[in-house]
Assembly symmetry: C2
């Protein structure tokens, strides 16, 4: 499968590398075609890995994964434009994190809005699925780093796209389908993006590393 990864950070690297390893052809997109991070990534992985602009990467991919910094995702996608994204599944992995004036990490917008919704609204012909944004990138691609059952949350307005993404998350990364919880339409992105402040506190203040996850335990 031809997959576009938009973003050259930790998340883009982790996802892109794993996808090449499991046999896909991946183009990592960034603002400039000669971005050093993307070129280094591509050259380290051989002929199934490429570097290109956001726009060229998106045009290449049959499926697009958006994992730029969440406060820059809209700008990156606007540089792509609607056509290269038309009818494609776009998996939005990002959280709109920014630094507050006191140095703390906050969301740039939330509660009555979310990045997932903003992308869908700007690209109505694209099948946006919010997924993977509640776990660290090393857990994304290797869920067994965290023992036993634990959950991913998925949401989107296109039921068939969510089904496809659920299947991909199983095939690519080994997530058990029964541990992927479909939260419904894209307004549920608000909820998963708003888990970030607790996640950051658990990471920085309690656990000390990012390899943990939520398991939703159901009672009677």
């Amino acid at each position: 499968m031809k997959i576009a990864i938009l973003g050259t950070g930790m998340v883009g690297n982790a996802l892109g590398t794993k996808l090449v390893q499991v046999g896909h052809e991946v183009t990592m997109g960034s603002r400039n075609a000669n971005n050093a991070a993307a070129q280094n990534w591509a050259s380290s992985l051989g002929e199934r890995a490429h570097a290109a602009t956001f726009r060229a990467a998106a045009a290449f991919g049959e499926l697009v994964i958006s994992c730029t910094g969440g406060m820059h995702s809209m700008e990156a996608l606007e540089s792509v434009g609607a056509e290269p994204l038309r009818n494609k599944i776009l998996i939005d992995v990002s959280n709109p994190l920014q630094q507050d004036t006191d140095g703390s990490i906050i969301l740039g917008f939330c509660n009555t809005d979310s990045l997932g919704e903003r992308i869908q609204k700007a690209f109505p012909a694209t099948r946006v699925v919010k997924a993977l944004n509640t776990v660290n990138c090393e857990v994304m691609i290797e869920p067994t780093r965290v023992p036993g059952d634990h959950n991913l949350f998925i949401c989107g307005n296109d039921a068939a796209a969510k089904k496809e993404v659920t299947k991909y998350l199983s095939e690519w990364f080994g997530w058990k389908a029964e541990n992927i919880i479909d939260l419904g339409d894209l307004t549920a992105s608000r909820g998963t993006e708003m888990m970030m402040p607790l996640w950051m506190r658990l990471f920085q203040g309690v656990i000390g590393h990012p390899h943990f996850n939520y398991h939703i335990v159901r009672g009677r």
Copy 2:
């Protein structure tokens, strides 16, 4: 122990009833001394249960549990005033939920602020501990409704107060101390209050009942 419950809703009822059952003397506070819900609650439970105003209840309690609707908590506490709360532990159980114009449930404030912080700021001589606000009230008082290990989050600026509350949550309701995660200072209230949108979606859209909880699973 003499305990004040501020609020006559589901949460106040559940907590107050359980606390009377395990041997404490509880006054349920409300806006008016002759509030029917509080008086019915008190008369159903016998001589260790009382109804009073917010102010009289808080004055009565050695410890105060704030469980009014989160958008009304500040008003209720302002009607108490600083003196009856001085040096006491106040457990803030509420979330500042309100209905958006489209009928959806949102937070009245979040991200750079939280109810826990607002209470502490308004009552600096009170030992505010945020706890229990991430689970349904029936799970609060009976954690075994949800099988196996699952977590409560606690935060506050007073370490000794958090230790005491952890002990109470074990003694009163049966929470295992090792499942109560101390998130640090009260700014962590932002994170636990911001879990409400996901919680609401899981409740209403996925699980269909409120008896579930989060288990934080740690990996390597």
